[in-house]
C-alpha cells in the first residue's frame, strides 16, 4: 500500500524489508520443524547397527532379536555373540554327574 506521504521507492523498500523478514522467519521455522521431526522419527523407528546390517537377508526368517537362547532367532544376518558373563566362574573338571555336559563333534 502506498501511503500518502511515502514515495514509491520508500514503499518498495519497506515491502522488500517485510518480505525478507518473512523469508528469514520461514527458514527458521522450517529448520525447527525438521529438527523436531528428526527427533520424533529417531524415537519411533528402530535403527540398525551397520555392523550387523551387511549381508543378504533370507527371503523370510524367524524374528525377535535377543541374546537369550530361549528366544527366537534374530532376523539380522549376522551371528549374535553371547551376552556378558557367558563363561561362568566355576572351577574343577570332569565329565560325569548332573552338572556336566560335553560339546564335541557328533
Amino acid at each position: 500500500m502506498w501511503h500518502g506521504n511515502e514515495s514509491p521507492v520508500e514503499a518498495r523498500d519497506r515491502g522488500l524489508q517485510r518480505l525478507r523478514g518473512w523469508t528469514t522467519a520461514s527458514a527458521l521455522l522450517a529448520a525447527a520443524l525438521a529438527f523436531v521431526f528428526a527427533l520424533l522419527a529417531a524415537g519411533t523407528f528402530p535403527g540398525r547397527d551397520t555392523s550387523a546390517a551387511s549381508g543378504d537377508s533370507p527371503s523370510s526368517s524367524s524374528s525377535g532379536a535377543s541374546v537369550q537362547p530361549s528366544e527366537e532367532q534374530p532376523s539380522v544376518a549376522q551371528p549374535q555373540p553371547p551376552s556378558e558373563g557367558f563363561f561362568g566362574s566355576g572351577s574343577g573338571s570332569g565329565s560325569g554327574g548332573g552338572r556336566h555336559a560335553r560339546s564335541g563333534g557328533s
Binding site: 570332569g94 560335553r102 564335541g104 563333534g105
Partner: protein, 305 residues
C-alpha cells in the same frame, strides 16, 4: 543340586540337565516333544518327514510353520556366512554317500563319485514364511543338518525351562543350549573332539551361564568309500568334504544355531575364519589337525597341564 537324563535323539546322544532334580522328567518330556517335531519336519532319512514328502512332490508346496522356521534358520546361516553353510548341499551329501543314518553310511561299501560340483546356492530357495510356502528349483535338494539340531537344542532348552521352571541345559550331540537360571558358577562343559568320546578324552572344561555352544569336527562321522576318506562337513563351494586346517572348532554364541553355524563355517573357511570370529565377538576354540589349540575372542585360556 542338579540332575541329568541321557537318551537318544536325532540319531545322536542327548543329555538334559536341570537345576531342580524334581523337574527333570518334565524337562526331558519337553525336549523329546521338540526333537520329535523337528525330526518329523526335516529329517532327510525318514520317508515320512515333511521335507522328504515335499521333495517327492517336486520340491515346492505348502510347509508347516516349524519347517518354515527350520528352513529360515538354514537360510539365515547361509546369509551370515556368505554361503559357507548352505542348506542346498543335499545333493552333494547324497553323492558322497551320506544318504542314510550314519550307522548305515559307515557300514556301506558302494563307491562314490567324488567330482567337484558346487552346491546350487541358498539364494535359489524361495521361502515365503507368511504364506507358508517353499519353492525349490528342479535338482535342488535341501539338507538342514548344519542348523536343525542346533535349532532343536535352542527350542528344546526354551520349552524345557518353561516346563520345568528351573535352569536347563540341553545337549543334542554336543550342540548345547542353556535356558533359565544356571547353577552357581555355571554349567560344566567338557569341550572335546567327540561328544561321545571315552571318559578322560582330551579337551578343556569351561563353565557356561547361558546362550549356546557348538562344536564341529571332522574327526567324527567319517567313512571310507573307494579308498577315499570322507566326512560330513561339506564345503558348498566344491560339494566335497571340507579340507581344513582345523579338525575341531567350538564356538560360543547367543544361541546354539549361531554357535553351530560359526563352528561349521570355521571348518570350511580354515585360517580366514579367525578374523571373522574375532570381528563378530564369538569366543572360539580351534584345534588344528596337528592338535595345536588356538583360542580367540575371549575363549578362556586352558589351565596348564
Amino acid at each position: 543340586m542338579t540332575a541329568a537324563a541321557d537318551f537318544r535323539a536325532l540319531g545322536t546322544g542327548a543329555r538334559v540337565l536341570t537345576t531342580d532334580p524334581a523337574a527333570l522328567s518334565a524337562a526331558r518330556a519337553a525336549v523329546e516333544r521338540v526333537v520329535g517335531a523337528v525330526d518329523a519336519a526335516c529329517s532327510r532319512f525318514r520317508d515320512d518327514s515333511e521335507l522328504s514328502r515335499l521333495a517327492r512332490a517336486g520340491g515346492s508346496g505348502p510347509v508347516s510353520p516349524l519347517l518354515a522356521e527350520l528352513v529360515a534358520a538354514g537360510l539365515r546361516g547361509a546369509a551370515m556366512t556368505d554361503g559357507a553353510v548352505d542348506p542346498t548341499v543335499g545333493r552333494a551329501m547324497r553323492l558322497i554317500g551320506y544318504d542314510a543314518d550314519f550307522a548305515v553310511v559307515a557300514a556301506g561299501t558302494a563307491p562314490v563319485r567324488l567330482t567337484p560340483e558346487p552346491a546350487p546356492g541358498w539364494r535359489l530357495v524361495d521361502l515365503d514364511a507368511v504364506a507358508g510356502t517353499l519353492r525349490l528349483p528342479a535338482g535342488v535338494e535341501v539338507d538342514l543338518g548344519a542348523t536343525a539340531k542346533a535349532f532343536a537344542a535352542d527350542r528344546a532348552a526354551r520349552d524345557a525351562a518353561a516346563a520345568a521352571g528351573c535352569g536347563v541345559l540341553v545337549s543334542l550331540g554336543g550342540d548345547l543350549a542353556i535356558a533359565g537360571e544356571p547353577p552357581a558358577g555355571g554349567w560344566s562343559v567338557l569341550v572335546t573332539d567327540d561328544h561321545a568320546g571315552p571318559a578322560g578324552a582330551p579337551g578343556q572344561t569351561v563353565f557356561l551361564t547361558g546362550g549356546g555352544l557348538a562344536t564341529s569336527s571332522t574327526t567324527v562321522r567319517r567313512w571310507r568309500r573307494g579308498g577315499a576318506d570322507l566326512h560330513h562337513i561339506v564345503d558348498p563351494a566344491t560339494g566335497l568334504p571340507a579340507r581344513s586346517r582345523w579338525r575341531t572348532v567350538s564356538v560360543g554364541a547367543a544361541s546354539c544355531v549361531d554357535a553351530n553355524v560359526a563352528a561349521t563355517t570355521a571348518i570350511v573357511w580354515g585360517e580366514r575364519a579367525v578374523d571373522w570370529l574375532v570381528r563378530h565377538r564369538l569366543p572360539a576354540r580351534l584345534v588344528s589337525v596337528d592338535g595345536a589349540v588356538t583360542a580367540v575372542a575371549g575363549w578362556p585360556a586352558e589351565a596348564a597341564a
